[in-house]
Symmetry: D2
Subunit: 106 residues, 4 copies
């Protein structure tokens, strides 16, 4: 794969908004996207993490994520691009697709 180009959080957020995806924001202290997902319970949260882990291996692009019980806080950035790239948009869209119908509204 070619080296990913940095597009920056602002453009990535526009791309996500254009797909009708909500809840993502830019991180303050570095060029990264973040979102917190909440699920029914731990087993639903971890099943979603497993689906994303499989996608991440296929894309060879992995999230930073923090889990406690039913909550998963995700940070996406591309090390090789030193900031947000199209790969982060692709992974964010996969996360949304896998979460469809699974989230608890907050």
């Amino acid at each position: 794969m070619s080296r990913p180009e940095r597009i920056g959080a602002a453009r990535a957020l526009e791309a996500l908004a254009a797909e009708g995806v909500r809840g993502w924001s830019a991180q303050d202290d570095r060029d990264a996207l973040k979102k917190t997902f909440r699920f029914r319970d731990f087993s639903a949260a971890f099943a979603w993490m497993t689906e994303i882990a499989l996608v991440a291996e296929r894309l060879d692009h992995h999230p930073e994520w923090f889990n406690v019980y039913d909550r998963v806080e995700v940070t996406l950035t591309t090390h090789d691009a030193q900031g947000v790239s199209e790969r982060d948009v692709a992974l964010a869209l996969s996360m949304e697709r896998a979460a469809l119908g699974r989230l608890v509204r907050t």
Copy 2:
């Protein structure tokens, strides 16, 4: 936990039908329930298996299951009851709940 009582596949199928659950049948050669689930792809199938694995550990009641790509064939029976028990009904209902919105219609 007390020893589970055998209720048999026929009564279990009635209980599942009463919950509006479809697609389960009795196995021919032993007292067991079976169903084949089909998902969008492997990652969706395996995420569902992970959610059920977590439920199974909590219930201390595990399925027999065969997976190839997007398909999971499940067999449920209770060793300690030498046949189908209420535990199999409970696990089947958990499987249905976790599969909601995830299955490919066949």
Copy 3:
């Protein structure tokens, strides 16, 4: 990826034996490799399955597998090659590597 070439179970078993890997055999009724793995308990078995699921997504080559509690029966064949290919050898070696130190001796 180019279409995988069929090498057949016999040559694949030689390749695995040359790596010092044991316990694989040819399936009777079609050109496929099989092995049964036994783990400490369900959680060890399913953790191993998760590791292999991640490898499988990366390789885009998936096993057929049957699990009940601490046991996983694996069948490997390559649909596109109508038989055993190098991909099955690669997946079998990944399975062995992930299982190192995790199996119950039988």
Copy 4:
């Protein structure tokens, strides 16, 4: 289950040391245990997380954990005890057992 008693991080660390377990420390800003695990790669790290997720459901006691690629940072505390309890010691020991032979030395 009865309400877990708070034993505090210091006593928990003694219990872990007595089992020959290394690398755990007390968190600065609250009564909690922490450790960072490093694995061969993402698939090894996530397989370990899956094994622990299964144990956590069985114990009904869940970790806080942060993962990025091959690294998992774990924090253990017991909400119902408002600090470290025996449950955290039990979960830490399960984590060590599942990690045996899987860690990269750092």
